[in-house]
Symmetry: D4
């Protein structure tokens, strides 16, 4: 709720367009559409430059289709994460330009391709198995108007692989590093660059990786000071945060 909206309401009220009860109600009933099982949040786009992402698990297919239908009326770019091809089929029935990204298991609708970033976002994966999460981050960043550089399979046990990409990394405005197992790559990359590193632990590994906990802890304890962390397998979140870091000042205002 921004001040200008309240002031506008107050002036209408002062002009006698509403009575006191209605004015109070309008001030409090902020901007979302209630469709029963969800409150579709149309003000988020104003606040963050992007519509609400739809998190798939726990929702029925028809709920997802319903939410997407509402969002698409107000917002050019939409992402559905952690979903499946069947849901995509139903979404495409109502939104024909929806795209399916198999590796990331993600539906994307992208009608606006304006570039909004200061520089590039580098997305780095430690291993081949981490690519799906890295791809989720990259697709999100692109949907939010960024140029993305993908760097796959440069894990620390062959340190020369990441060193060979140092120049590319040092040109980026922000780096996303995606790694499972011991999650050591963000520390190494963090030491190579002078920009923020957004670290994404993945659930890749077995035994004492505990579904990504080892990588998560490694990243939280990074000895590189420029590393912050998002949830295990949360490629979307990393892409979102990196996009806001990279956003041009005039877009933010």
């Amino acid at each position: 709720m921004d001040l200008s909206q309240i002031e506008k309401l107050l002036r209408a009220y002062q002009r006698g367009e509403f009575d006191t009860t209605e004015a109070a109600r309008q001030i409090r009933n902020l901007h979302y559409e209630d469709i029963g099982y969800a409150r579709v949040d149309h003000s988020r786009s104003t606040r963050q430059g992007f519509p609400e992402v739809v998190f798939g698990p726990g929702k029925t297919r028809s709920q997802i289709v319903g939410i997407v239908e509402r969002l698409v009326q107000k917002s050019p770019n939409i992402i559905v994460t952690h979903t499946d091809e069947g849901t995509f089929g139903e979404v495409r029935n109502v939104v024909t330009d929806a795209e399916w990204h198999e590796s990331a298991r993600l539906i994307r609708i992208q009608r606006d391709h304006t570039e909004r970033g200061v520089g590039a976002i580098a997305v780095v994966s430690a291993g081949t198995s981490d690519i799906p999460v890295a791809e989720e981050a990259a697709l999100t960043a692109e949907a939010m108007g960024n140029r993305v550089e993908r760097v796959w399979d440069v894990g620390v046990a062959g340190i020369h692989r990441v060193l060979a990409e140092r120049e590319l990394l040092q040109r980026a405005r922000v780096v996303i590093v995606v790694a499972g197992m011991e999650g050591a790559l963000p520390s190494v990359v963090g030491g190579l660059v002078g920009v923020p590193v957004v670290a994404v632990p993945t659930s890749i590994g077995y035994g004492a990786s505990f579904g990504g906990v080892a990588a998560l802890l490694g990243m939280l304890n990074s000895c590189a000071s420029n590393v912050s962390v998002v949830n295990i397998d949360n490629g979307f979140g990393a892409g979102f945060v990196a996009s806001l870091i990279n956003r041009r000042s005039e877009v933010l205002d």
Copy 2:
């Protein structure tokens, strides 16, 4: 075992209706029916105003049907939780007015609709994915004689959504708040109302949500003093506790 029952037995004994051995046995053999695999507890209804709920997992379908058959003879309202539609089919064969609630995966038999509450119980869900657990709470509260207000999808990342429902929340005698992921909603709601908040963490989330542990810990550490917590995904328990909080004094006595 209430005193009046013992006294009644003692008087019968004093009148010589039982010998000493039989009197001692009757005092100890309290009120339940042993059907081999279960001791169906007919005294619980007296004690708590509600029959034993049937927790589905680990029981065969025929065990569940058998238990329901006994309960239904003494008790008008019964709930079977964490069950499936196949079990419901078998229950309906013997109890034709049983209802199936798909979202909550719950069988309900409700023959008594007396209202027993002082006020309304508000049931609030943070996200669309949390609705099944919230619905379990709401259905339980209704079965126990309460008026229920459902408020879905008002999670804290769009704080205006819950603020818009403040009035409804402040009218309730008790609020149930159901949330997964970071489980922050009970703290916010707790700060808005002056009544008890029963918080239910859900297993919705992924990665470091650890099947609901993140939400559970968030709720246990709530900085709002009026919050107490039940087990992860335990909508039934929340509905039960809230019903007892809302119960009219004359019903409790």
Copy 3:
């Protein structure tokens, strides 16, 4: 922020008492006093019938004294938890009727003794070592206008001890059960009474009690449906929740 307050402001605004900017500011600047290191929340008392409790750890003594000084001007009853006798000494210098409760390590100021409860609150401890936490709950409930019945040392390994108090427990409007080690007492008490049970795990125990985790998990998994749980050693929270459950309807309104 309740509707009547907004409406009052709007009318003053309509009468021209404030300009638009000031009206918008007042609507948003809600009720608290900013003293630099804390925002003392004077609206909480209106909302919950009790002033903000002061949680001691991490605050300097002079911060605690400063906060208490502000609170005492608006609120007759105040509690400082997890504190020490030295802090009490400094508080008493400025609030001479403050009381020190050694066992619970709690400062209480109680100037209002109005009874606000429907019935009594029973506070039950499993062992002698659990008394400090139970006492914190009892002192809180008394400060909030309740009659409290204390029942100490009735743990489940001598089940006859709690059975002997059944009558007392069954007369209460709500029961607080405080237990460490395996935390089994709330389940047993929950089965004996037909009112809500607020369970408080304590950190009493050693080895695999893990500082109260064993008791906490036991209580969260209680097979008694009328049990809800607060944080480990959170006697204050249990006393607070129980007080709201016991509150007379006319007080809540």
Copy 4:
């Protein structure tokens, strides 16, 4: 390796029946049969009055059949745990008197029915869902020559149910208590009897039961001093330990 066997070997050696190398080898090569994927331990029966139990998981069906075939030549009573009906079918092809116990998912061969116990072993389950594990304990105890009393569904939330069985429990030489969820029953039973209680946590529950961890911790922290604990769902182990406790002195020697 018992002393008498070494002495016998030494005498044969002294009589010149073996040379020094062979004698040393025989002393060290103790009593088992190597069948490639397993060393079937024929000395265990001598040492513990029972053949090696076969733990199913991780073994192929033909490995299980092979091991059973060897064991059955030396030992009248055999148990295969955590197995399935398909494996049973293959075992019965070679051992026609093998029995399948569906609830416990256990194969039992019992040719020797000698009673070896001082008294009875009571096996108690907290809920209906805990019966499979309790049944595994009971079947094991019977196979080891004990009289077993089964007491099902006497969980602590209806404390009168277990109190009603106090007499039966107090007559047993040892009590096995099987419980999931909060695992409180062993403490209550432990307080009622003056004999050892062997507690078995089960994985029954959900959410913060963490697959039986809540019950396990509850039992390890039992305030009853006569409780010891075996692994989650380890009905076999409890039956085994209880059998050794109940064993007559002349059998032990």
Copy 5:
């Protein structure tokens, strides 16, 4: 509450010695002495052949002295665990024959030295550092009328040390094994003997021993079927359970 006591009360009641109310009260008010902060349990001795042990932590010194004073009037042998020499000094002021055991940090009063065991109890420690816990077990077993064999420092990394004691171990009626670090000794001892093994994990170790958790998990997962487990550092519990296992039938009845 045993049946004979109820029957006796009932007969007195039938003879008119009490009225109905008094009879009901007496039946329910079972056997303990309420001293405010504790309910001293005089019936436990009848039920388990031993008075309530006093667990020190969380009790003030004067509470411990008070409890011991009451217990000593009815019971010849008493143990206070997890205590300190200062408390011992105060206990000795009122019970002059109390003994202080520095290593186990335990106060013992032992006036009755009757032997109640079938055989000996072997108490085995894996390392020198585990002796305090092992000593707590041994002192408890002695106080409960058992002959104890101590076997110190025979951990599995020098397997010949425990093998050298095999004969002693095989003569015992029950073996207590106390081990920290990896907690492997109970499995080895369990394989050597045909009697129950009570395993006690200790908090000895560092790093990934997690205060005894590694040893505890090792023991719960023992591949020897005759092992049951008590809490970390719970020497008392192991001594208690072992004493009940070793108890002569005529003592149990």
Copy 6:
């Protein structure tokens, strides 16, 4: 190691200033000063616009003084975290303009006050007890050339407190949110602003806060997409990351 440095070395080599062996060694021996117990990293300043922070724990006072002495020769601004006043005393002996910040337990040397940020960094604390960590973040951000807005004690249980600061928060280029207990504040703030939120869990709390784990998990599972997280109590890291986000493009290049 940047390309221009290698090229410069190669040219010197080509001119014959070094032989081949020496050239290879120089290429590999990169930029740090070895003082025995530490390799002081003078190239970090070039890479990240800030000297190496000194993490106090595990280092002796004289090691800290030694490291600071080397750093101060090349770098105008230095921070020592998690340290104490005694160490500060020794540092001030050699660097007289060092400042001691008691609340944050941090030594700061700040000789360069150039502003390098695009906008302001808002630092928000949920409670008074979280101020020390928040202060560490704020001091770090200032040392790195940023304008900082401090907002203390606006936790979610009194949601109006943070709403009242919405305007200030919405003007910042990046927001740091510091919270203990349930760690819910970053989600609420994340929903209010359209810039990156760097969340810092603190170890404030007790019981099931597990030293900050509850807050950490809450933040990792935030339903606000613009939140990334640093380690528990890592105010320094948050200040560092936020400074890089806020850095002007011309400073980054």
Copy 7:
């Protein structure tokens, strides 16, 4: 990157074969082949005497085939772990001499059979269920040029079984010990031999084995000083480490 390679490049550069830019690029672009989804690391073979192993999970079948195709051109021996028979079928289409090892679920290509070890590697399994992991270790060690001695099913509960193999174990240059459940076998073996023991915990077990955590902790806390540990179920890693320990000096150089 070894010095001799740099020196060779530098000489070519000095001879004018490259310009400065190209020389710098070549020094940094180290040895791997980029195939889009993976950087196949041809320098690892030089560094460690073995090609990169292919870890199956998270990779598509065509990715695995693609990686194997590249590796096989430079390296005679290759291993794919944690894979399935379907993948093997596709690999065999392009590499006809690939072998499928069902128990270990591993594809092996072995064209070079040179022996590179000083002595034998003993691979020991505690139980029959641990054989798949043990077999993965043994197959790896063979592929790396070692003679392997397999010793199956010698768990500690029948200590005579491992004692009987002492001689074989004492002849080995390094021993791999594979165990699930309590993971005690490495400590016992460690005490019997004077060479390094590489311990592999397996996920065999149930309940409190927590998927191998109990065994892992047991091994990390081993009281035998010659034990080091690899990840749960990581037979490959153990075979690899053991091969390097056993490697002849002339092979290492």
Copy 8:
């Protein structure tokens, strides 16, 4: 117990030097000295080329002195770990050439300086704060006859520091890597060398380092195949294992 010793005993027995009972006893009573609270293991030196290390915690000073006194009679080199200077004072009273190592908190007696290694052992620490554990490893390796290269403070956030030492690392026969926080250094070093890496996690760090758990998990999940791991802070164990890896063949035999 080696075969030759048994054969010698058997021959003496055959010559009639012992009777049968005595021979059997001698075969079983293997090589250690029982001093009451400890069994000093004189055969370990034969088995592993090194006397039993004395682990300090949980032992009284006089116990440590007593154990050292016995060991010193048979073994030239002894280490006491995790001890303090006071204990050192008492040890030096009886063993005047004992050395105190403050950083590692370790007592060393080293009378034999024979070199037993094939090559050098490199000991690497990630940070200055990790030096005490690294020093414990280095001192152990020296005491076992190895040449040690110390490389301090080369953590991964400044990757050029470890790359600068590549040559030194590649010359070693085995590398010990000691790291706290995220524990990433062993993976990087593992990728640089072709020999075994023994990784030691340290408890250095705070917050989500959980006393070394983050580093431990990082190392167990290392993507470098040549890494094995010992317990948190177990410098001694790493030094021991590395010494056995480096041992010359003729010493092992």
